[in-house]
């Protein structure tokens, strides 16, 4: 039996609000959210277009936890109605997302959470959030030694001695 999760204030539909979507997370939590909020996600938009074609309503199953999904919804709620160039499917994609102060605070989370958010944003095709997460990860490791960087990222040195001294290594280090 799926758990019904109450939505937070920012996602409670009000008068004149858009249609509701049912999102199901990997931990089987059901989250109801307004379509408008999630319209920043190209993935969700495409799913909704598919619903309209079949005139049926479906839940959208997502491969990440409700905790991560709620973070993404929080992001989308914050920028509801905002125009962000990166999320405009008709605009030429900018090279990088600009620094947004709110995003920096929003993404002030631990490493694993940040990695989960960027994977979720990539899956949902929210380019502005992918860009902000990528900037946050780059900021975490910028200026660090290789060992410090590995510790921050939680990865081990799996290079063989030969690889560490290979020509490609010369190019990349």
């Amino acid at each position: 039996m799926p758990t019904i999760v109450s939505v937070d204030d920012s996602t409670v539909p009000g008068e004149g609000s858009s249609r509701l979507l049912l999102l199901v997370s990997s931990d089987n939590k059901h989250i109801v959210v307004e379509e408008d909020i999630m319209s920043r996600s190209r993935f969700i938009s495409k799913q909704v277009e598919g619903f309209e074609a079949t005139s049926q309503r479906h839940a959208i199953l997502l491969p990440f936890s409700s905790f991560v999904l709620n973070k993404v919804i929080e992001y989308c709620s914050h920028y509801r109605g905002y125009y962000l160039l990166e999320d405009d499917p008709d605009a030429a994609p900018p090279g990088r997302s600009p620094v947004r102060e709110w995003d920096q605070e929003f993404l002030d989370v631990d490493r694993n959470m940040l990695l989960r958010i960027i994977k979720a944003a990539h899956y949902l095709e929210i380019k502005s959030l992918v860009g902000s997460c990528a900037r946050a990860i780059a900021d975490m490791i910028r200026g660090k030694t290789t060992e410090e960087m590995r510790e921050i990222l939680g990865v081990e040195n799996d290079f063989t001695p030969e690889e560490e001294h290979s020509p490609s290594s010369k190019c990349t280090g």
């Binding site: 090279g95 990088r96 490493r111 694993n112 990695l115 989960r116 960027i118 994977k119 990539h122 992918v130 860009g131 990528a134 900037r135 990860i137 780059a138 900021d139 490791i141 910028r142 200026g143 660090k144 290789t146 960087m149 590995r150 990222l153 939680g154 990865v155 081990e156 040195n157 799996d158 290079f159 063989t160 690889e163 490609s168 290594s169 010369k170 190019c171 990349t172 280090g173």
Partner: protein, 603 residues
């Protein structure tokens, strides 16, 4: 978390396995009587095998690491942000994405395979590195930054050959010039560039080739020629230009002809930004304007012109400003003739009359005078809520009145109604102020929203006079209230009612008191400003040149005055023991009593 090896089953297992393995060697050594060296060699072999096993374990750990398992597309994003600062600073990538690519095998694999990272080539660089960059960028259009430093250029003349043979793939080109590279640079600038979209060339006074990019740069949108000598206006490459900046500062080349410049400009229908610095065509006095010569740009957003006033005016009058308006930057020079200022008035009148252009920067220089102001560039074009106005002038000539008139005209042109921030600087601190208090009221009378003002040198007294609206008219009569201008109200009127902070600096009080015969009783209310206002402004005053006794006197009587004193004179510091740089002192309501005047008189 570190586990106790005595209770850790993994540690127990591997320790036991190692003992079993090494004991076999010992047993073998008994029968075969191996030497210690042989045993040592066998142990090295064991260690190598173990290291490989450990690597395999590390790889398995990474296989479960969220960071190491990121999708290549996501990693490419992260790498591109890692290189952000490198590209901005035009330095090599060692500290950016290349460093990040050392995290683990997978990150490196993605970095090596992602061609987008390899297309940004910063020269000079080693040949090995260059070849790798070209190869790994695959067929991507290149971004080449070639900024030779004095010595590094000499070391790597081959690099640019390697890079620029591929100019045909170049999308962005940022080229620097150094002595001895003119020929190479010319060969680059004369090569066809079918993909070129952005070109920024620094020539340091070197000449341009007669035709840029062999006349073939069909995608060129942004062209910035910096410090070039001459510009090939006849090159047929401007049809898609949206940004053109030609800077011939200090080149001392003959001006181009009107037909050359306007012939080229007429092909730039999509132009958004035009900046011509010291390369304006020469407009003869009385040049007749015909409609066919007026260029209409629907997308134009910004124009910057620098050169003789007549030529600035000439170019502006031949450009039809779009309804959306433009930002205008003007830097005017004259030959220093007596009628220098006179020639500016038609220009400013023209700008003022063209409500669609917003003057954001103006600079005027002649042999004897200079005057400039700059708007805060962060201000939106359509408004000036954060405008910062700065006026400067140097040697004051006998035609002072024209300076005042000019400033008055500038303020009219600027529409200072929404001015919030004012900076007034006078270069010559001992020059007699060209402003009277009434002049300030006249030119800033409509700046009702001014909140912050920084005023210096000889402009201080008149500004303070205006604040307290206590000034003399031309006949030497005192005005205690603004009785002209119609907007004043008899009671409670305060010039600049929103003023919250006033900074007065480089004030040579002694000079003004002694040379200008301003008495303290008159001056103090000027400094302290609106004593009758509902909320008096904060006043910050640099008292460096103020007589110490007067500074003390001011300290005793002010609440809203913060006094800054430099205490680099050790003796003085010891004398009065005051080391506090910014003091906030309580004020006595009756601040202008006779005691202070007595204090000043005794100095």
């Amino acid at each position: 978390m570190t586990r106790d090896s005595g209770t850790d089953p993994a540690a127990e297992f591997w320790s036991s396995a190692l003992l079993t393995r090494t004991s076999i060697l010992d047993e073998d050594s008994d029968t075969n009587a191996r030497s210690n060296a042989q045993i040592q060699e066998l142990l090295f072999t064991e260690r190598t095998a173990l290291a490989q096993t450990l690597l395999s374990l590390d790889a398995q750990i990474n296989a479960h690491s969220p960071a190491a398992r990121l999708l290549p597309e996501i990693l490419a994003h992260i790498f591109s942000y890692c290189s952000e600062n490198d590209l901005a600073m035009k330095r090599n990538h060692k500290r950016g994405w290349i460093g990040a690519a050392q995290a683990c095998r997978r990150w490196r694999h993605v970095a090596l395979d992602y061609s987008g990272l390899w297309r940004h080539i910063i020269l000079p660089s080693s040949r090995e590195w260059m070849e790798e960059m070209f190869s790994r960028s695959k067929t991507r259009p290149l971004v080449i930054s070639w900024i030779p430093a004095s010595n590094s250029w000499q070391r790597g003349p081959g690099d640019k050959d390697l890079a620029l043979t591929d100019l045909i793939r170049v999308e962005e080109l940022h080229l620097g010039h150094y002595d001895g590279t003119v020929e190479s640079l010319h060969s680059v600038l004369q090569s066809p560039a079918p993909l070129l979209r952005v070109a920024e060339i620094i020539l340091l006074g070197a000449t341009c080739p007669p035709v840029l990019f062999d006349g073939s740069a069909p995608r060129l949108q942004r062209l910035w020629m910096r410090r070039c000598s001459g510009f090939p206006w006849t090159s047929p490459i401007f049809s898609n230009i949206v940004f053109l900046r030609v800077d011939q500062q200090g080149a001392h080349t003959p001006p181009p002809s009107i037909s050359q410049v306007f012939g080229a400009l007429s092909t730039m229908r999509a132009l958004q930004t035009l900046a011509l610095i010291d390369c304006l065509p020469q407009f003869p006095p009385g040049f007749d304007i015909t409609d066919s010569f007026v260029l209409a740009y629907t997308s134009l957003k910004a124009v910057a012109l620098s050169g003789p006033v007549l030529d600035c005016t000439g170019v502006l009058r031949h450009i039809r400003i779009p309804n959306s308006g433009i930002q205008l930057t003007l830097g005017c020079t004259t030959s220093g003739a007596a009628n220098d200022f006179d020639v500016i008035f038609p220009l400013l009148t023209f700008v003022h009359g063209t409500s669609k252009s917003r003057l954001i920067s103006f600079e005027f220089k002649s042999q004897s005078r200079s005057l400039s102001f700059k708007a805060d560039k962060s201000s939106p074009v359509a408004d000036y809520p954060r405008l910062s106005l700065s006026l400067e002038w140097g040697e004051i000539s006998p035609t002072l009145w024209t300076v005042v008139d000019l400033i008055r005209e500038l303020c009219r042109t600027l529409s200072v109604e929404r001015l919030e921030d004012l900076t007034m600087t006078v270069a010559d601190e001992h020059s007699r102020p060209p402003f009277l208090g009434s002049t300030w009221l006249e030119i800033l009378g409509s700046a009702k929203k001014l909140q912050h003002a920084k005023v210096s040198h000889s402009a201080v007294p008149s500004f303070c006079q205006a604040l307290a609206h206590k000034f003399k008219n031309q006949d030497g009569l005192w005005y205690d209230q603004l009785n002209e201008g119609a907007e004043a109200e008899a009671d409670g009127f305060f010039f600049l009612p929103h003023m919250t902070f006033l900074s007065l600096y480089n004030v040579d009080c002694a000079h003004f008191f002694e040379e200008e015969e301003l008495d303290l009783e008159e001056y103090l209310p000027m400094v302290l400003g609106a004593r009758n206002a509902g909320g008096a402004p904060w006043v910050w005053m640099d008292m460096t040149a103020c007589p110490r006794a007067m500074a003390e006197a001011l300290r005793e009587v002010t609440t809203s005055l913060e006094v800054y004193e430099e205490s680099d004179d050790e003796d003085d510091s010891e004398d009065d023991g005051s080391t506090d740089m910014n003091q906030h002192i309580e004020i006595d309501e009756d601040i202008f009593d006779d005691d202070i005047w007595d204090l000043y008189s005794m100095m």
